[in-house]
Amino acid sequence: MRMIWEDLQDKSFYQATARERAFGLVDKGTFKEFLGPRDKMVSPHLLVLGEALEFDDGIVVGVGKIKKHPTFVVSQEGKYVGGALGEVNGAKMSYTLRLALETYEKMKEKYGEVPDEKKPLCIVSYDSGGVRLHEANAGLLMHSECMELFYEFQNKVPNFSLCGSTIGAYGAQGFVCMSADVVIANDYGRIGLTGPDVIQQEVGKDEFDASDRALIWRTMGARSKYILGDVDYLIKDTIGAFRNQIVDLADLPMKKISRSRHLGSPKLVEENLEVVKLAAEIKANDSKDLWKYYGNDNPDELPELPYDKFISTVKRRPRAI
C-alpha cells in the first residue's frame, strides 16, 4: 500500500480522503493505522439494514509522529454516510483519544514531568454530521465518551481540531470540535450544532432558508467563526498547511497551547456569555451584524474577498488571551 507523502502535502485538504489526511498530517512514513480496512470491522447495524458497508466504517484512526511527539489522529470520512458516528467508528474515535491520554500518563510515569518536546498530541480532522441515525443510541454515547476524554486532555494532551472537509463539524461533533485547545480551518470549514435543513424544518424558512448557500457559509462557515474567535487559525487549503500549523505549535509548553481554548473554565463561561448577551442586545439576526460590531465596515464584501486580502484586513473579536 503506497501513498506519496510529498504529494499529499500539496493536495487540497478539502478534496483529500480521510486516509490521505491522516497519512499526510504526521511525519513521513510514521502513520500506523488502528483497525484499518484489512480488519474489515464494518457496522453490524448498517449490514442488517442493507446499507452500503465500508471496511473502516468511515473513519481512519491511528498514531504517528510529529517530530518527537506521538501523535494520535482521528480522521473522519464525510463521503461515507455523511461521516456520522455509530458503534464501531464511534468506538474507534473515542478509544483513540483514550489511548492518547494513556500514553501521556505512561510518559509521565517514565519521565516524571512529560517533556514539552515529547508530549503526545491529538489531532481530529472533522468531516461529520454527528450521530449516525441508523445506530443513534450508540452514536450518542460515544459523543459523551469523547467529551469526558477531551475534558481530561486539558493541561496534558494538546488537542487540535481541523475543519475543512466536505461535511464540516456538525451536530454533536460541532461541540466536540469546539472543545479543543486549537481550532484550525480552511475556507471550506464549517462548524455548527444544528444544520441548515434541520433549522428550516424545526423553526421555519423565515428563520433559516436552507437553500441559501451564502447564508449557510456566513452563519456556520470558517470566515465568520474566525472573526468571532471560534476558529483560531484560518489557513490555506492544503494538507501541508494544516500540518505546518500543528508543527509550529507542537513544541510549545502546554500552557501556551491552551491559551486559545474556547471553553472549560468559569472565566470562559463569562467571556462566551458576554457575546451571547451582546447578540441579544443588538438583536443580531445575521452574522454580518456582529462582524460590523467588531469593526468590519465592509461586511458584505468579507465572504468574497480573496484569502490573503481577507486575512490582512479582517477585524476579529478581541480575546483576552
Binding site: K32, F34, L35, M41, S43, V48, L49, E51, E87, A91, K92, Y95, R98, L99, T103, K106, V131, L133, H134, E135, A136, N137, L140, L141, H143, S144, E145, M147, E148, Y151, G171, A172, G174, F175, V176, C177, M178, S179, I191, G192, L193, T194, I199, V203, E207, L228, D230, H262, L263, G264, V269, N272, V275, V276, A279, A280, A284, N285, D286, L290
Partner: protein, 294 residues
C-alpha cells in the same frame, strides 16, 4: 395502562415531588446568587433531600426566553447552558473548603426536548454553550460532587448529551410515565434514512441501538437504573448519591460516569462490536507502545 405524562413540561413539579417540602430556593447556591433574568427557563438552586443540601438543575418549560425566540418549552439554549455551568461553578465554590465526603450532590432533573435550533445560536455558537456546560459538570465531578441525572420527561439528543449523559449515574422513569429518550423518533429516522418504518419497527425489537425509549438505553448501559415507581425517585437518588460518594472516596473513579456505562452496557449485552473494536485496538497499541514512549 395508558401512558401518563407525569413530568413532561413540568420540571418544577419534579423538584417539588423529589425534594423536601418548600426547600427549593431558586438562584441561590451557597453564597452565590444567580441572575434571575438570565435564562428564565433554567431552574437552578438549592434544596434539601431528607435534610441533605443539594444543588438542583432543572428546566421550567413554562418560561420561554424573551431574548431568544427558539428557546421555549424546555429547550436548552445558550443562556441556559451558561447558567447551568455557572450553577456548577457556584456549587464547587460553595464547598471548596469541605472534605470529599461532604461535597454537596448535584441533581439534574431531565426534561428537555433539545438544544435550540436557531440561527443566532449557530452564529454565536450553541456548540460552545453545550460544551461549556458539559465541562462544568466534569469540573464538579472532579471536585468530588456526586452528580446524579434523573430522567423524568424528555431526554432528547444533544440536550441529553449536555444535560445528563455525563452524570456519575443516570436514573430514569419508564416510558409509561411519558419519558422519551432518543436522538429522534423512529418515524423521523425512517424519513431521513429512507428505511421503511415497518422494517425499523421490526428491528427495534431485537436491537436497542436505534430504538427510542429509556428501557432500550438501559440495555446499552446508557442508563444505570430504572426507577419503576415515581414515588421511589427520592430514595433512588439518595441511594445513588451515597454509592457514588463511597466509590469516589475509595478512589474508584473508573466505576463512575460515561466510560463505566460502556462496561455496564457490555454486561447487559449492548454494543458488542464496540468491545471487539476496542480489544483489537488495544493489542495494536501495545505493540507500538515502546517506540511511542521513546
Amino acid at each position: 395502562m395508558a401512558k401518563q405524562f407525569l413530568y413532561v413540561g413540568k420540571g418544577d413539579q419534579a423538584i417539588t415531588d423529589i425534594c423536601d417540602a418548600d426547600s427549593f430556593v431558586e438562584n441561590k447556591i451557597g453564597d452565590s446568587r444567580l441572575d434571575a433574568e438570565l435564562a428564565p427557563g433554567a431552574m437552578v438552586g438549592e434544596a434539601t433531600l431528607d435534610g441533605e443540601l443539594v444543588t438542583v438543575i432543572a428546566n421550567n418549560s413554562k418560561r420561554p426566553n424573551p431574548r431568544f425566540r427558539v428557546v421555549y418549552n424546555g429547550v436548552i439554549g445558550m443562556e441556559e447552558c451558561y447558567k447551568f455551568a455557572q450553577a456548577m461553578y457556584a456549587t464547587i465554590e460553595a464547598d471548596k473548603d469541605k472534605p470529599l465526603k461532604d461535597k454537596r450532590p448535584i441533581v439534574l432533573l431531565i426534561d428537555t426536548p433539545g438544544n435550540s435550533p436557531g440561527k443566532v445560536e449557530e452564529i454565536v455558537g450553541m456548540t460552545k454553550g453545550t460544551a461549556s456546560y458539559q465541562f462544568a459538570i466534569e469540573d464538579a465531578r472532579h471536585a468530588g460532587h456526586p452528580v446524579i441525572g434523573m430522567i423524568v420527561g424528555r431526554a432528547v439528543s444533544g440536550a441529553f448529551l449536555c444535560h445528563g449523559l455525563l452524570s456519575d449515574r443516570i436514573l430514569a422513569l419508564p416510558m409509561k410515565y411519558g419519558t422519551i429518550v432518543h436522538v429522534m423518533p423512529t418515524t423521523s429516522i425512517a424519513v431521513i434514512t429512507k428505511i421503511p418504518l415497518e422494517r425499523l419497527n421490526e428491528l427495534v425489537k431485537t436491537n436497542p441501538v436505534f430504538a427510542s425509549g429509556a428501557e432500550f438505553f438501559y440495555k446499552l448501559g446508557g442508563i444505570n437504573e430504572m426507577v419503576e415507581d415515581p414515588k421511589d425517585m427520592k430514595n433512588a437518588i439518595k441511594r445513588n448519591i451515597s454509592e457514588v460518594r463511597k466509590l469516589r472516596l475509595e478512589g474508584k473513579e473508573d466505576q463512575l460516569g460515561i466510560w463505566h456505562r460502556g462496561v455496564v452496557g457490555a454486561e447487559r449485552g449492548g454494543r458488542a462490536k464496540r468491545l471487539n473494536a476496542i480489544t483489537k485496538m488495544r493489542a495494536e497499541y501495545e505493540k507500538l507502545l515502546p517506540e511511542l514512549l521513546d
